[in-house]
């Protein structure tokens, strides 16, 4: 026989004002199966909880209904109380008489009646409840980090130092990301390479980090604690174990005219190359698109062409026949840290992204109009000019540099309404770098707002104006064009009300920050969502900033939104801390409110398998004692199931049900109304 206890809460005035709690308790007292009912001002308070605990013991209750607020608020609280009193926590239910009753009604009598009805329904549900056991899932205590920029590096190091194994996958031939291209960094102007390189080396040498550079994530399956990841290790045409990074091949390659991606096209590289001297791993990649040998093969020439690199290599590491290889790694958690790319003002724009270029700025065809990263390379001591700021067109030192902020950013007509957040700061930095190197040069900045909200940030931009003499003009530029050997800049200063036509020697565009290409495909493999621009969605914009909506998958750095280095590092550390927290338990605990198949009756139609949005339904063979196959039935993976109930609604025979929400329980609840 059921022995149910009912506890009605006043929630101060919240419920008490419109619902007469003691009448509710009174009414429930005579409900079949109810052996105890009482009301109290604050049931969730310590004395309230004590009432519940004592009543369970005193009345040998077999079930508890707390008529109070939403289960979102306090279901956990009361289930804990019930468990402490020795009852299975899933025999406790909340009757929501606050959000669904007292808050939305005015008539006291009617509201009280409704509260009684709601509570009765839940009493019937509890009568039909069965004890459930918390699910425990083993955890693979290794993590995958996708992307080896500063965010990914930070996450990997924190994880490894915290004792976890790490697999770091980077699609380029070296880790480092955009930070390795920067000259000096705001707001302190320390040298980017100097602070980054030691961390890159640490990654390479850490015993618990396995680095797959020049690799990409091919496939992901599984669920939190138990992912399986297939990694494609792209063919470098260089044997990783033999190569010692001497660089003889890169010296020997006769094809030295390939635009250098690391230098943003400002320099050249050979067909076999290392992106920069401090690369990690320090190992070349042979660019098959540009290599003479492979070009010949594509043209159908059978004779082996060139091969100078192989001749130069004393270790015989060049492997023209190398193919992509695949490795599979088991991990318990994943951190996405794929960073960003810059918007280009060109006429051609990626399809389907709704972007367009800047015809009025010449679609990027005007010489001596460059973007911020190109300027970083010009200003970098290790860059193509050795740190001399000169014009790409003729190598002259520019006497007037005009910087344009918000190019692409905050421009709905080009498809990007958001602020890229970092450019106000790096433009101020560029101004300083320029003025430090070209003392008599004039720096003009066209801006709409200066957004420098960070520690020491506003002071930094003010310094650019007050001490470095930058001329800040408030307004967007209407047009850029080449006239003789200058770039004409047609702008307007809305503060002084002046139309301006400036002759610039060099123009630097602070172009918008966008997610990496291929981010949507990656997100799909991982079952995480992107926002309309392709940035990875966090689970909650305030309270869960480094988690995604998929359990066990986290996000860090500029792939989530435009981020500067301090933020990327903070996110990397935060994501690592989340993963370490997950790994700190031997097993993962999950609520048992997941679907379960009644294998005895399952007809094997697998409709549930088709409809499950989380891919939680698999198949299992049922065999008799002699090992003969009897039938194949559906089986729900409790680690993946989110308890949404889609399968339950679909199964023709009702042989799969979410525990705690079985048809019988729901019907009992409804029948009582």
């Amino acid at each position: 026989m059921a022995r149910i206890g009912v506890f009605v809460c006043h929630c101060g005035e919240n419920i008490g004002r419109t619902v007469d709690a003691s009448s509710v308790a009174e009414a429930l007292r005579s409900h079949p199966g109810v052996v105890h009912a009482e009301d109290y001002r604050y049931m969730c308070s310590d004395p309230g909880q004590t009432l519940v605990r004592e009543a369970i013991a005193a009345n040998r209750l077999t079930g508890v209904v707390v008529a109070a607020c939403s289960p979102h608020m306090h279901e956990r609280t009361f289930r804990k109380v019930v468990a402490a009193a020795g009852l299975n926590p899933f025999l406790c239910e909340m009757a929501n008489i606050r959000e669904q009753c007292s808050w939305i009604h005015e008539d006291r009598e009617q509201a009280t009646g409704k509260a009684i009805a709601i509570t009765r329904a839940l009493v019937e549900k509890v009568k039909a409840n069965t004890p459930l056991e918390t699910i425990r899932i083993p955890i693979e205590r290794r993590a995958l980090v996708i992307g080896g920029g500063i965010a990914g590096i930070q996450a990997a190091l924190d994880l490894a130092d915290g004792g976890a194994e790490v697999v770091l996958v980077e699609k380029e031939s070296s880790i480092g990301g955009h930070m390795s291209q920067l000259s000096e960094t705001f707001p302190t102007l320390d040298c980017s390479q100097c602070i980054l390189t030691p961390r890159m080396v640490e990654v390479a040498q850490h015993p618990r980090i396995r680095l797959y550079a020049y690799s990409e994530v091919e496939e992901v399956s599984g669920y939190i604690g138990n992912f399986e990841v297939k990694v494609r290790r792209k063919a470098r045409s260089v044997n990783e174990t033999l190569c010692n990074g001497c660089g003889a091949c890169t010296q020997a390659c006769p094809n030295r005219k390939v635009p250098n991606e690391f230098e943003c096209g400002l320099g050249k590289r050979p067909a076999i190359s290392v992106p920069f001297p401090q690369a990690v791993p320090n190992m070349p990649v042979l660019d098959r698109e540009r290599c003479a040998r492979f070009m010949a093969i594509r043209k159908g020439i059978t004779k082996a062409v060139c091969g100078k690199c192989a001749e130069a290599c004393t270790r015989g590491a060049i492997d023209f026949a190398q193919e992509d290889r695949f490795v599979t790694e088991k991990v318990g958690a994943i951190i996405i840290a794929t960073g960003y790319q810059l918007y280009s003002i060109g006429k051609e724009q990626p399809e389907g992204e709704g972007l367009s270029g800047y015809g009025e700025y010449g679609y990027g065809q005007v010489p001596d109009v460059i973007d911020g990263l190109q300027f970083e390379r010009l200003a970098s001591a290790s860059g193509p000019t050795g740190g001399r700021i000169v014009r790409p067109s003729d190598g002259r030192v520019p006497k007037r540099v005009v910087f344009l902020q918000c190019v692409g950013s905050r421009d709905p007509s080009r498809g990007i309404p958001y602020c890229s957040k970092i450019c106000c700061m790096y433009v101020a930095k560029h101004v300083m770098l320029y003025r430090h190197k070209v003392h008599d040069g004039e720096a003009v900045v066209f801006y709409m707002d200066v957004r420098a909200a960070g520690k020491g940030y506003d002071e930094f931009t003010r310094r650019a104006i007050e001490e470095e003499g930058a001329i800040y003009r408030r307004g967007r530029v209407a047009r850029l064009w080449r006239d003789g050997d200058v770039v004409k800049v047609q702008g307007f200063d809305t503060l002084s009300g002046e139309p301006l036509l400036l002759d610039a020697d060099l123009v630097v565009l602070a172009t918008a920050v966008r997610p990496q290409p291929g981010i949507r495909a990656l997100a799909q493999k991982l079952s995480v969502s992107c926002d309309q621009h392709g940035f990875i969605n966090e689970a909650h914009p305030k309270l869960r900033p480094v988690e995604t909506n998929t359990a066990g998958i986290f996000v860090a750095g500029a792939c989530q939104a435009p981020r500067d280095i301090p933020e990327s590092v903070a996110m990397g550390s935060a994501a690592a801390a989340k993963v370490l927290g997950l790994f700190s338990k031997a097993e993962l605990e999950r609520e048992p409110t997941v679907a379960r198949v009644d294998a005895a009756h399952c007809a094997g139609c697998f409709l549930c398998e088709r409809v499950c949005p989380y891919g939680a339904v698999g198949r299992r063979e049922v065999r008799d004692r002699a090992g003969r196959l009897v039938k194949v039935v559906a089986e729900v993976n409790p680690g993946v199931c989110q308890g949404c109930g889609t399968c339950q609604a679909t199964c023709p025979g009702k042989h799969v049900e979410v525990q705690g929400f079985t048809d019988q329980q729901i019907y009992a609840e409804i029948a009582a109304l």
């Binding site: 006429k347 015809g359 009025e360 679609y363 064009w481 006239d483 004409k488």
Partner: protein, 292 residues
């Protein structure tokens, strides 16, 4: 496809040579034009100062007439008329109430069915024929293609392929053997709508255009708008400082006509204020008889 021809007031007046050269070219390439009977002024830049309804209704009457005449598209060579007609067509298309009101307002049946085309579209379509019948290619004559505003802006009305970098005029010029220069004022406004009421502004704007064309090495300006033509040709003397050589302003139809070997006089080349005769003589094209 039957094409109706809407000359507009300018082509019957100050821009007669545009009309003459267009008719001559149309004849030469075998594309007959049926003038819209009893057409009226499109309202130019004045009607919309009074109100949007007038600015829409005046062009709409012409579209209704064209419809009645059974043509599928109307060629409006004057850039201003083109812009007005195209705009009216679009506004009516987007405004259901206005569309229903139109027949009553115009006192005629009106279905807004006729497409509006500009001279560049017309000539671009005819490029294969023009190329095939070319008798007098301009051996690389450097000229500046001047679009002005009304052929390209607003893009929602003009269907310009790229309002910052249109290329239609350049393509036509190249087909005639000319060599369009790279310059920067091809899309700047010449001040057309203030031509009469504020000459000083027009001279300032026109001067900048002419100077940039000169700087780019152009020997002639190519236009497709009567207002641009009258500003840059008729007022050129006032725009030119210190005895610089004048720079002839040709309608795109005149250029095509010359390349097709049509006699300059039939193209109205003798009606210009800045005579193209010296240029044509220099370039081995027959000089135009003067009316100067």
């Amino acid at each position: 496809m039957r094409t109706g021809y809407f000359p507009g007031c300018s082509l019957h007046g100050t821009a007669r040579e545009f009309d003459e050269s267009l008719r001559a070219v149309a004849g030469a390439i075998g594309a007959p034009l049926a003038e819209i009977d009893d057409w009226n002024c499109c309202g130019a830049s004045s009607a919309h100062v009074v109100g949007q309804r007038l600015a829409v209704a005046l062009p709409a009457r012409n579209l209704a007439l064209a419809e009645a005449q059974g043509v599928e598209q109307v060629l409006a060579p004057c850039a201003a008329c083109y812009n007005r007609l195209a705009k009216a067509r679009r506004v009516i298309e987007e405004d259901e109430a206005l569309r229903r009101e139109m027949p009553e307002l115009l006192g005629r049946p009106f279905g807004n069915r006729v497409a509006v085309r500009n001279i560049l579209e017309f000539l671009t379509d005819a490029l294969p024929v023009i190329e095939a019948r070319l008798v007098h290619a301009f051996g690389g004559l450097p000229l500046a293609c001047y679009y002005g505003c009304l052929l390209v802006r607003p893009a929602s009305v003009t269907s310009a392929e790229d309002p910052e970098h249109p290329t239609a005029m350049e393509q036509i010029a190249r087909a005639c053997g000319a060599a369009p220069v790279t310059w920067h004022m091809g899309l700047e406004c010449c001040g057309g709508s203030l031509s009469v009421s504020r000459t000083g502004s027009v001279i300032r704007l026109g001067r900048a255009i002419l100077e940039d064309a000169r700087k780019a090495g152009a020997e002639a300006l190519l236009v497709a708008c009567p207002m641009c033509h009258s500003n840059l040709d008729f007022r050129q003397r006032a725009m030119t400082r210190d005895g610089r050589p004048p720079i002839p302003v040709l309608y795109v139809t005149e250029l095509v006509g010359l390349a097709l070997g049509i006699e300059p006089r039939r193209l109205g080349l003798d009606r210009h204020f800045v005579s193209p005769a010296p240029l044509l003589a220099r370039r081995g094209q027959a000089p135009a008889g003067g009316r100067h």
